[in-house]
């Protein structure tokens, strides 16, 4: 007996998406402004629903399990989608067409992430992944007037298809060896059976496929081009939502399905983490474009998050969950500031940010504290996040101390390029003809909210920490 009642979050999200689609078609063109607000309100309501029903637990289909872990990630995606929606208000209105479609696709992408993060079974997991990916292909190419956007869309589509193919191949190899697509079942069969080459290859393909999504080096190459070309709110959503969803699934696969193969995947994940931290941070330095810079910073952040997997402990998983949530706010904050700037000046170049602090103190402050949080400077929320991640690695084994030190060193490097933006904003002189920035009220409120959360969780991280660790614990419950 399939308990469809437990799918309430997925069903409600799908309903919201369909409703937005219908609304966009039925309502006369000039009155479509309301659809953005409707999306925001709907996502907020879903977020409230997720919070109120966080105690829900149960199995819908074999491997499709509702637990605190999945609800935590659902809340994360909804938060990201909500902030991305607010970010889109002016941006999409200025594009001037098909608003209903845009917001509906945003919600469907969220639905895909939810499925991806909830599923413990390879086929449904893949379904979620594709739902997320295909909606993103469309959204990335949404700026029809801009060839860069189209280029980004094509690149993302082709490389995404490539990674999906690899991933599917991996899945088929795993199924072929184990005879099951349910992760817990796979875990049991591997422990009893002999690991062989086909299984190892399957595992490598799966990790490669997900590395593409979490932008781990050397599978990151699409990210800078796509991040730069996509509409800024979509870049923001892609960088936090897609990445977190891929992490949610990767953690499930590695710890539920391949826990006793850790001796194989640990070195691989360690290498990916090191490469991402080093390359992401180093290449971010010479960047001149804010979105490209944030793309490389996002590659580096993916590297930090992989440290949590390397620690292979509850502490590490909890740290990933905590950091992923903080990353939503910090990265969204940075992209919101970038969007606000783009809406006015139609530019993403760092040199054009000169004197922004005088033209828009709030926008500059949001950018400053967001990148400071990304760099892990106290008292901002990124600091405890990095503290948890790095100490989880150290706590695992002192022989991994070098990895934590590398993370620290690379965080120090990151301060350099983050401060490039800050330096331009606070010490540069604005071009004389540039006036104050026009920022919509909704955006201002969202920015203040992000600032407040970054400071609150930096000073008193315990509420979220407890939630994240509790969510991490449920993953390991039988």
């Amino acid at each position: 007996m399939v308990n469809f009642g437990l799918l309430y979050m997925e069903i409600a999200t799908a309903a919201l998406g369909l409703m937005l689609l219908a609304w966009g078609l039925l309502v006369p063109k000039r009155e479509r402004q309301g659809i953005a607000y409707l999306t925001a309100a709907g996502l907020l309501a879903l977020l409230a629903l997720a919070w109120c029903t966080r105690g829900a637990a149960g199995t819908v289909l074999p491997g499709y399990t509702i637990d605190l872990y999945s609800i935590y990630f659902k809340s994360l995606f909804l938060t990201a989608a909500f902030l991305a929606t607010i970010c889109s208000f002016d941006y999409v209105a200025k594009m001037g067409f098909n608003q209903g479609e845009y917001y509906a696709l945003l919600v469907f992408a969220t639905l895909g992430m939810m499925v991806l993060a909830t599923s413990g079974e390879l086929i449904t997991l893949y379904l979620g992944l594709e739902l997320m990916a295909i909606t993103f292909y469309i959204l990335v190419a949404y700026r029809l007037d801009d060839p860069k956007s189209a280029e980004a869309g094509i690149k993302y589509l082709l490389l995404g298809a490539l990674s999906s193919a690899i991933l599917l191949y991996g899945f088929s190899l795993i199924y072929g060896t184990c005879g099951s697509t349910v992760l817990r079942e796979i875990g049991k069969r591997i422990s009893s059976g002999q690991a062989d080459f086909a299984l190892l290859l399957g595992l490598i393909f799966v990790i490669a496929g997900f590395s593409f999504k979490v932008t781990a080096v050397p599978f990151h190459m699409w990210a800078p081009d796509v991040y730069e070309g996509a509409p800024t709110p979509i870049t923001a959503f892609l960088s936090v939502g897609s990445k977190a969803a891929a992490f949610a699934a990767l953690i499930r696969i590695l710890f539920l399905g391949f826990d006793n193969q850790a001796f194989l995947w640990l070195p691989l994940v360690t290498v990916l983490s090191v490469l991402s931290m080093v390359l992401g941070n180093l290449v971010a330095i010479p960047q001149k474009n804010v979105k490209r810079l944030l793309a490389y910073s996002s590659v580096a952040q993916g590297g930090y998050l992989l440290l949590g997997i390397v620690s292979a402990s509850l502490l590490g998983i909890g740290a990933i969950l905590y950091y992923a949530m903080i990353y939503v706010f910090a990265n969204m904050g940075a992209f919101m500031a970038a969007t606000a700037f783009y809406n006015n000046d139609r530019s993403d170049e760092i040199k054009d940010y000169a004197g922004l602090a005088r033209r828009a103190p709030l926008v500059a402050a949001v950018m400053l504290f967001s990148v400071a949080s990304l760099a892990g400077i106290p008292p901002l929320a990124g600091f405890p996040g990095k503290l948890y991640l790095f100490s989880s690695v150290v706590a695992r084994d002192y022989s991994y101390l070098w990895l934590a030190l590398l993370g620290l060193l690379m965080s120090a490097v990151s301060v350099y390029y983050y401060l490039q933006i800050v330096k331009a904003m606070y010490t540069g002189n604005p071009a004389p003809q540039k006036g104050a920035l026009q920022v919509s009220r909704g955006m201002e409120v969202a920015m203040l909210l992000v600032l407040g959360i970054l400071f609150f969780l930096g000073i008193y991280p315990t509420p979220l920490t407890n939630y994240a660790f509790k969510a991490g614990e449920t993953l390991f419950m039988p």
């Binding site: 094509i154 490389l159 690991a195 080459f197 190892l200 290449v283 502490l315 315990t462």
Partner: protein, 627 residues
Amino acid sequence: MANLYWIPKAWLIPLLPALAFPFIAFITRKARGLSALTAILAIGVSLVISLGVLWEVIAHGITMDNPVEYSTVWLQIPQLLKIEAGLLIDPLSAVMLLVVTLVAFLVEIYSIGYMEDDPGFSVFFAYLSLFGASMLGLVLANNYFMIYFFWELVGLCSYLLIGFWYHRAEAARAGFKAFVVNRLADFGFLLGFFFLFIIFHTFNFRELAAAIPAYHNVGLLTVAALLVFTGPIGKSAQFPLHVWLPDAMEGPTPVSALIHAATMVAAGVYLLARAYVLFASLPNVMLVVAYVGGFTAIFAATIAIAQRDIKRILAYSTISQLGYMVMAMGVGSMTAGIFHLTTHAFFKALLFLAAGSVIHALHEQDIFRMGGLYKDMKVTTVTFIIGALALAGIPPFAGFWSKDEILAAAYHNGFLGLYILGTLVAFLTAFYMFRLIFITFFGERRAGLHGHESPPVMTIPLGILALLSIFAGFVGTPFTARGFSTFVYYAAPHEVEPDYMVMALSTLVALAGIALAWWLYGRPSDLPERLKESYRWAYNLLWNKFYIDEFYLWIYRRIFWGLAEAFHWHDRHVVDGLWDGVGDVTRASGQKLRYLQTGNLQTYALVFFTAVVVIALWMAGMGGMIR
């Protein structure tokens, strides 16, 4: 514990003044009256809650062994680190809360008059509020981490307030000196409780109190305890880190009253009491504590007899009295130390505020340019004398009972040397205080300066503190049933036995000190000048405070400066060169690595596949699974 009303609200005590700080700084700064009102209202409500807390602690039988603790986790890494934020309410903290809020409340009222014409009036009240809040947070803290947080905040506030008149070079320097000396000591304290954390994996006082007696690695614990003790050496101005306190008088006088009585130097003694289990389990450390305290007491008292500045004399008397308190802790009587801290808070605040009243009237601090002030300033004179009598330890004033308990504790716990030393300090104390009084308030007007009585807003706090200086000691006399010693104690409550010999002797030497002061300074005489001439070297030694400051300056100039030069060279040429190189390499490699990103889709796909193949080969090789 069901029907506690005030104690669950104790968190408001530090919070209200803490909120007053930003409120004044950001909102009411332009409105002077409103700023003062905000600050006084905040600390006033805190005072009321503190009274309620103390009352409930007594009424509900909350004892040292049976405290109330509220705690929440502030920051944790499961299995590695847990830092709490919490309140610990026991008789010790309840008494301290009352002392701090009461003194701070009176000082803030007094400041309305004293700071009347100051352009920084509102900011002054904002700082005072933050100062009070920090100290109250420190008192309520239930763990080392939190106490350290507020400990640093207290240090910061003292810096801000000592250097309040920052446009005066001496004031700015004094604030800086206080901060640097305290930081030095705080670093030791920080290391100390980190040691404790490494050993016991907790910062919590009660958990530590349970764990310490069962721990047997005395060597490690001794290191930790000595490091923790450096905190009080700095904050409570013990030798050799006492040098900041005399200079701290550069701040406005109400600040001096606050620092010397309630919010700054008290923190060190309070920490000793809070961490007493750590010290009590280590007899050797106790010995160090006792002798540091005893030495500081006599050392500072001798300096005080040769000073001419009214506030400087009081400052050295504070150091000397703090030495008493630390000595009490060291000889094993935590009760006596805290009791003396309490009574001292009242009469030292009184003395400073009364001295402030004099300074306010004359704009002069050199006592040898004063004289005959009792004719102009009756209230100030009377209250100052009451404070001095309490400080000198004349019965039945408050200071007598607490000092007597310290001396009795030293005598009965087998520290005969420290007892004699303590008695000698009592003699010196009486002498220098009454030297000050005879010169300042009696005799002829040396420089023709006329005073005028201060406004009621200043004299009423003086009156209240004078009453407390007379009566506060009665809570802890040996004749009081269920007195202070059964309330604030370590290990077990005990009744103090009156020791008439100790009492009589300390009273006699104090009276002798007053008599000597009268003989030398209370009547027209050229004896002091002649003494000064014939014992020039001794006078110079005392006048220059044993040249401690000069010694530190010499060390700083000759040794640190030379070292710093060497380090500077090393830093410029070796470290900078190295890191410039690292920076250049980092940036250059970023530039180079950037070219991996061609923008070419085929390249991306190629890299993707190559990576998969390389990984597969690598892992297959590692797994040894290519068969």
